[in-house]
Amino acid sequence: MEKNEKKGREHPLSIVINDAVKIFTDLGFEVATGPELEDIWHNFDALNIPKDHPARDMQDTFYIKGEKDKVLRTHTSNVQIRYMENLIKSGGKPPFAIIAPGKCFRNEATDATHEMQFYQIEGLMIGENINMSHLKGILSHFYKKMLGEDIDLRFRPSFFPFTEPSIEFDLKFNGKWLEMGGAGMVHPNVLKNCGIDPEKYQGFAFGPGLERLMVIKYGMPDIRPAYQGDLRFNQF
């Protein structure tokens, strides 16, 4: 063969995930993982999303037949809770910083920008003085490493039950502002739910989608081919 390509080709999402993890671990973040089939406590309750509250409608959740307590996780924020619970149980305490890439699920119709399954990358940093300016610093650093120095980041008000203040952040890339994801300062109730004293500790969390980043990075017109097992997708 002329093009004797011995090495296989990696899926573009894997490239994005691995690059992202590398950037964050270089900054001192630890990789954390958690289950995709999650219980209500870790996906909702502990994250300050009360039962019978409109906030639970913000995401279209897949509930599991015959298992009242289980859902397909709607975000990687469940990993925050699991990590903090384990940390406290094993006698640890802040400061810490984790990064958790993982698959999430939303029960919504698919189109060029939405899939029922998608990847998020959750970041969480807690310490005595971790603030919103640090959040902006970390996110700017990340996207510059990913997309080049010529980007700009801005925050807009938003709402998530597990952060206060909550923001949505946009990225200016190739002269256009693009919505990237949500973030905020971890809500005191979330820390309390995991056994961390919110009077003493504070920090931020973020959870942008990774398909979005992949699409922007590579200029893809549609995210759907990502999950069709089609090698024509592996172009990089």
């Binding site: 002329e2 296989g8 899926h11 690059d19 409109p54 509930y63 910083a97 039950p161 089609d230 592996n234």
Partner: protein
């Protein structure tokens, strides 16, 4: 929620900034504005904002008044305490509009109305009888106001109630008094087996969990959700009861979902509007009805079992700056409090803020932080990298997947991802927007389909053998597990991550710091790397094998193939086979043709091949096999 610019303007003495400016500032200080549309022509122009009010402010911002308060804080403009009315005596906090007439009702000192609350799910109930009203069409200003936000005009009474809901965010219901057993309203739980026919003529079966507004005999309204036909206001109505009430948010939400009726009223109640709003809304609706339909207004009956208490929240300048990483001065922060109409005082170096009853979202100092930064602007946060003193650990799971992926990539396997949903399995989702309701129990089924697809595309991919793998979670009754699957020719091998690691052990031992360095490190892969979407039309491939003298470079041949392959040649021709015999080497090239616009015909490709063959034959030292 649709919000009219002209409607908002009624709340301000000063001229509002241009609609585009208002929209932009709402986006950066309050909520997302999904669209801004211009309505009308000539002298009658309005702009409609579609504002996505966030769930934590839906209790006080799902109304023009709510958005006016936001605008007031953002632009530091005063919201009129009793908006433009153009004189006349003030009826409490009546929010009259210049559009409205100016007559003020003088309520009678007595009333025959009785109200009895039998359930703690009703937090407040204000009722008022108005007798001898005149049902009719709504005036143009009211019709127009409702139409601009997409509401249909029905009659002056119903329209007035709707108007006040979109103005203040308080749902209102009006009954035909003469259709009741007696002028007595009872708020109670429904009885098992009880039924109600709603205004849109649907029969709803009730049970004890459902709160009703009833007369002494019959259900009249599913509380906070939908009116019944029994006491409907119609063209013959003379005497009415106006209901301005507040119901428990959770219970209203549960009932609405259970019976499948979602109304604008439900949307407001389920977000926990303040029962304090009732009084203001009753004043406004009374005034509008009196102006539009006349009548004799009786005094209100207000049953308010437990008036909520205003809470204090303590917050310091330091606390706010510490969380935001900012350096706001005390004056800047105080200015925000004033713009938000917070009553506050200083106590031991802290602010003691008396939280308005309408702001149930504020429960502690962390909430004040958000209000401050929203008004002062997120652009004031600079951004810096933090330093934290800790030692991150290695995540075994992630590392294993990382190793496994690299091992397979190095062995020539390409990675695919397939759907977690299948049409059969052991774990089923309750409802799905797709027909695949089960979670996969293996990766093999998806990989098989992927294999088939890629084998068909092998010429296009320029590969002889398809080698693929997937790493992903599978779901069984016993729980979830990370699996790895890859193919060996047509056969699929699948195992869990740990099994794979064991079998790959020897490989890993000899491979410290795995991960091809050439392929790692994001810095190396910064643009430009543009994805190219493939054509949706089928491709056609042709093979051409040519004998050449041994040792001759086939690049001349390839050049001919490219030059004559036309623009339909979708990729560079590639050698898929070569061997040498008796001083000659045979090179077999594969040519793949495809169009982005149409399905190709065999004949047109044959023509291209014929042309290429002629070109090849011009070289006498070459022979086509």
């Amino acid at each position: 929620m649709k919000i009219s610019y002209n409607w908002l303007q009624n709340y301000f003495e000063e001229k509002l900034p241009e609609p585009e400016k208002v929209a932009e500032e709402i986006i950066f200080h309050s909520f997302e504005v999904e669209s801004l549309d211009k309505l009308g022509t000539g002298g009658k122009i309005d702009w409609i904002f579609d504002i996505k009010v966030l769930p934590d402010r839906a209790h006080d911002c799902l109304s023009h008044f709510g958005i006016a308060k936001e605008i007031s804080a953002i632009f530091n403009l005063k919201v009129l305490p009793s908006p433009k009315s153009g004189g006349g005596q003030d009826l409490g906090q009546g929010l009259s509009f210049s559009l409205r007439e100016k007559a003020r009702p003088c309520p009678k000192e007595e009333t025959s109305l009785q109200i009895e609350i039998q359930s703690d799910k009703c937090l407040r109930y204000i009722g008022r009888i108005v007798r001898n009203i005149k049902i009719g069409k709504s005036p143009d200003w009211l019709k127009e106001k409702l139409e601009t936000i997409g509401q249909r005009s029905i009659n002056n009474i119903v329209d007035a109630a709707n108007f006040v809901m979109f103005d203040l965010g308080q749902p209102i219901h009006c009954f035909d008094l003469d259709k009741l057993e007696s002028p007595k309203i009872i708020i109670r739980n429904a009885k098992e087996g009880e039924k109600i026919i709603t205004l849109d003529k649907k029969e709803v079966n009730l049970d004890e969990s459902i709160l009703l507004i009833a007369d002494e005999k019959n259900p009249l309204v599913i509380a906070g959700i939908k009116g019944g036909i029994k006491a409907e206001v119609d063209e013959n109505t003379k005497n009415i009861i106006i209901e301005v009430a507040n119901f428990d948010a959770v219970s209203t939400r549960k009932t609405a979902r259970k019976i499948g009726i979602l109304t604008d009223a439900v949307k407001r109640y389920e977000n926990e509007i303040s029962p304090e709003l009732c009084e203001q809304a009753m004043n406004e609706i009374t005034e509008i009805i009196f102006n539009l339909a006349g009548g004799d207004v009786e005094k209100i009956v207000d049953v308010y079992p437990k008036k909520p208490e205003q809470k204090n929240v303590f917050v310091s300048v330091n606390y706010i700056n510490k969380r935001l990483g900012t350096f706001f001065s005390k004056e800047e922060i105080e200015n925000v409090f004033e713009r938000l109409n917070f009553e506050y005082e200083e106590e031991n170096g802290e602010f003691k803020i008396l939280i308005p009853l309408s702001r149930i979202d504020i429960t502690g100092p962390h909430d004040i932080v958000e209000d401050v930064i929203k008004i002062l602007g997120y652009e004031r946060i600079k951004g810096e990298l933090p330093e934290i003193d800790w030692k991150p650990k290695t995540n075994e799971n992630y590392l294993k997947m990382f190793f496994a992926r690299n091992k397979l990539l190095n062995d020539g396997y390409s990675e695919v991802m397939t759907y977690s949903f299948r049409d059969k399995g052991e774990v089923e989702v309750l409802a799905s927007a797709s027909d695949k309701k089960f979670l996969r129990t293996n990766l093999s089924d998806g990989l098989k389909e992927s294999l088939k697809l890629n084998q068909l595309n092998a010429p296009l991919l320029g590969i002889n053998e398809v080698k693929i793998f997937e790493i992903g979670t599978v779901f069984k009754k016993s729980g979830e597990e990370i699996h790895i699957a890859f193919n060996n020719k047509k056969e699929i091998k699948e195992m869990n991550l740990d099994e794979f690691m064991k079998s790959a052990d020897s490989f890993l031992n000899g491979l410290a710091g795995v991960g091809d360095p050439e392929n790692r490190g994001p810095e190396k892969k910064i643009m430009p790397m543009k994805f190219k979407m493939w054509s949706a039309f089928p491709f056609i491939f042709r093979d051409i094998a040519v004998w050449m003298p041994e040792g001759e470079d086939p690049k001349e041949l390839k050049k001919i193939l490219i030059e004559n392959g036309t623009e339909l040649l979708i990729k560079e021709p590639y050698i898929f086979d070569s061997f040498t015999k008796e001083g000659k080497t045979s090179y077999a090239f594969r040519l793949v043709f495809q169009s982005y616009e149409r399905t190709l015909k065999n004949e047109e490709i044959d023509e291209i091949i014929t042309k290429i063959s002629h070109k090849i034959k011009e070289n006498s030292s070459w022979q086509i096999r």
